[in-house]
Amino acid sequence: MADLSVNVGGIRSPNPFWLASAPPTNSGYQVMRAFEAGWGGAVWKTLGDPIVNVSSRFGGLHVEGVRMVGFNNIELITDRPLEDNLREMREVKRAFPDRAVIASLMVDNVKEVWQEIVKRVQDVGVDGFELNFGCPHGMSERGMGSAVGQSPEFLQLATEWVVEVAEVPVIVKLTPNITDIRYTARAAAQGGAHAVSMINTINSLIGVDLNTWTPIPNVDGLSAHGGYCGPAVKPIALNMVADCARDPLVGIPISGIGGVSTWQDAVEYMLLGASGVQVCTAVMHHGFRIVEDMIDGLNQYLDGRGLSSAMDLVGKAVGRVVNWGDLNLEYKVVARIDQDKCIHCNKCYIACEDAAHQCIDRVADGSGQLALVVDEEECVGCNLCAIVCPVEDCIEMARVDAGGQALSWRERQAL
């Protein structure tokens, strides 16, 4: 059994799986249930001046029968009194001293206000803070959330105020609704943050009801843009995590967020530089119990690879993310179709024919069926056929170059 414990900017937890600040961490009752199920940490639903929520708050993106591939919400920060939250946080921490309890905070961007809430909250014994500079909806209209997170200067200022009085590590949660997340990540680091977490939700409008023409979610016939999350956002988040992980000017640990549903997702985040992950949508879909397989699967994976600690994964793939101009132009793969496995759905054929390079031929093979044969001379190795193929391991992308001297575009330009 490998050691699953992680350390995210000084915040320790027995496993890398934290609940993100969101509806599942709204109350002590919920966080207790989560910790009983095995979650390593929980970032409490954002504390601040209590707000009033609308009714009808979520929307789901369902794709070809798969529910909640994407998810969006227009719910705001906690609508419960601060005293209630603080009392429950204290109780939870007492019941589960080994788990990480992190308080997410969002207040008016005023020094005194920030410092007052930090002092009040850290009295209950939280393990860290997460500053919510990410929520793109509602609160941003009031100058909070992503409104701060989109301005490196404001973000750094607020971070400095908090760090000044905080006695526990401070994580800054970043918004993806920005051109280059490294600038705000650097600002957080400059401001003294101990870690950054990313990504918060993406600006989104999840859909329109085809019968009523009301955008979703419907609040009395109207809707507003919300924050988008769930499995569909993972690639966006992974890119941002990797960008920050390989930026020396950021240089602080990362808590990865965005579509984590399985241990495999977590491994990917950690390989790209995250020290741990936060989960919300998958829990909203399936409940806290999913953590059991996340822990079990990660254990099996680490054992299978002979790794003794989950932290051994952190950043191992970061060095392999480079600029396009540094990729080897001499590397060449081509598609090879396993004729024994092929079921002749012709998905690869039509995809290549209509959308790629017309290099799969349908050839009579004498059996009465048309075999799908790749013209390797024409194949550019784009992977499309292998991606659309419904049969596992039927199409292999085989390396065909001689494996000689690599040549990148950057090097080629210099020749």
Binding site: E64, G65, I343, H344, C345, N346, K347, Y349, I350, P390, V391
Partner: protein
């Protein structure tokens, strides 16, 4: 006459209880989403009418069910019936690429869903074409005739169907057991054709109620689609006894809700084709306790589909192989028993044919309250002779375009079905009707160019 068991009025609930239930909407969506949407899909090739299966399934997933049904019915005017009666294991589902590593898509059930959807909502899918002024008569309003009529009406021709039965639909309305295909479905399909402006004269037997000349003088083209006749006699003593049925008549009565009288507890069905299975399972659902199929060959030679055979066994039908009927015994004028002789199989030199040879001294008698003959169907050659149409013992000779030897006269469906050439399936009849209609259309266009006089068959 046996007293117990079968009742006078059929217990409608069992007879009408579908062999298998329709899929729920949730099941339909799950199944439809499983479809790979193959390119140049083998299921399309395997369908005799070439329904664009991936297209109709995808339309189900996008909640375009009317569009889905339109794809189905466009290719196959009997698409709702075929969804229920097609031997899909041999056709679309047998060709599904998913069958290699997993289970094939339940194409028939999805087709049933889409066609039921428009049927239940009374949605019309097609409209007649711009009138051409050409008149076409179709003899027979079964699957082939309806398919031809639908296509010709869409092409703008004025179509008249003459149907001997009181209702359209042929085999679908009268010949397929209600628990496999309800009359509602068959009649809805016919109604869709009639709605295109097709004139349907039912209860009209051509050659008897209507002269041959009125056909040849009043129409520009003629499509023969009159199917087949009843079950030919066994040519054994006792066939005229009460309680001895022609399977076709028997099923037609049951399906029409007419009384077949008390059939008793013991029913013997002679023959082992799909009609025999239908007669036997019908009898079971009429509460006959003891229903047995007697066949002079073995399970290897029987023509019933494997799924029909399985179904019959599930329904409690027994099978007795290698038994040939010698005579039907009566008590008064009512059937009492059948005497059989055991047979053995002798193969022809090339092993292609299995001849049943009676084994002397093995005669035995089985008591029965009802005997149903189901040993094939006879051919109707009278009309063919009257029209001077070439045929082989009642099988119309047609070319690839379903043209007969006589210009302007076409044939489709069972009347042109040749044993050993394909299967006499509803879906095949539908396709032949379409092919015949296309040939008629070409013929009429060509006739226009050559200045043929209107309303008269040439040749």
């Amino acid at each position: 006459m046996s007293k117990s068991g079968a009742t006078e009025s059929p217990p409608a609930h069992r007879l009408d209880q579908s062999v298998h239930r329709p899929l729920t909407k949730a099941e339909v969506l799950t199944e439809a989403q499983r479809c790979l949407y193959c390119y140049d899909a083998p299921c399309v090739t395997a369908c005799p009418t070439h329904i664009d299966v991936p297209s109709f399934i995808r339309k189900i997933t996008t909640d375009n069910v009317t569009g889905s049904a339109r794809v189905i019915m466009d290719a196959n005017p009997l698409g709702a019936s075929c969804a229920r009666v097609c031997p899909t294991d041999d056709l679309c589902e047998g060709a599904c690429v998913l069958g290699k590593d997993a289970s094939p898509i339940r194409i028939g059930d999805l087709q049933r869903y889409a066609t039921d959807w428009v049927r239940e909502r009374d949605i019309d899918l097609f409209s007649p074409g711009t009138l051409t002024g050409k008149r076409v008569a179709i003899v027979g309003g079964g699957p082939a005739g309806l398919a031809a009529a639908r296509e010709l009406a869409r092409a703008g021709h004025e179509v008249t169907i003459y149907e001997a039965n009181e209702q359209l639909g042929g085999l679908n309305t009268f010949g397929i057991v209600p628990f496999r295909l309800s009359r509602d479905v068959a009649l809805w399909e016919a109604e869709q054709v009639v709605k295109l402006g097709v004139a349907a004269h039912t209860g009209v037997q051509v050659g008897k109620d209507l002269s041959i000349e009125s056909l040849t003088n009043n129409f520009d083209a003629l499509v023969l689609a009159f199917g087949m006749g009843g079950v030919p006699p066994l040519k054994i003593p006792g066939e005229d006894l009460q309680g001895v049925w022609d399977a076709i008549d028997f099923i037609a009565k049951v399906k029409s809700g007419q009384s077949v009288g008390a059939i008793g507890d013991r029913v013997i069905v002679i023959g082992a084709g799909n009609t025999a299975i239908d007669a036997a399972t019908c009898s079971r659902r009429l509460d006959a306790q003891n229903v047995a199929i007697y066949y002079r060959r073995t399970a290897n030679e029987m023509t019933a589909y494997p799924f029909e055979y399985d179904f019959a066994k599930q329904e409690g039908v027994e099978f007795r192989w290698l038994c040939a009927p010698m005579r039907i015994l009566g008590e008064g004028n009512r059937v009492r028993a059948v005497e059989f002789v055991k047979t053995r199989i002798e193969l022809s030199d090339n092993s292609k044919h299995a001849f049943p040879i009676p084994v002397p001294g093995t005669e035995f008698t089985v008591e029965a309250d009802t005997v149903i003959r189901a040993t094939g169907q006879s051919r109707l050659s009278g009309l063919l002779d009257a029209l001077h149409i070439d045929h082989d013992d009642g099988v119309v000779r047609v070319d690839q375009q379903m043209r007969t030897n006589r210009q302007g006269v076409f044939a489709a469906g069972d009347c042109s079905f040749r044993r050993g050439v394909g299967d006499a399936m509803v879906v095949a009849a539908a396709e032949q009707g379409k092919i015949a209609a296309a040939a008629v259309h070409r013929h009429l266009l060509a006739a226009d160019e050559s200045g043929q006089r209107r309303g008269e068959l040439r040749g």
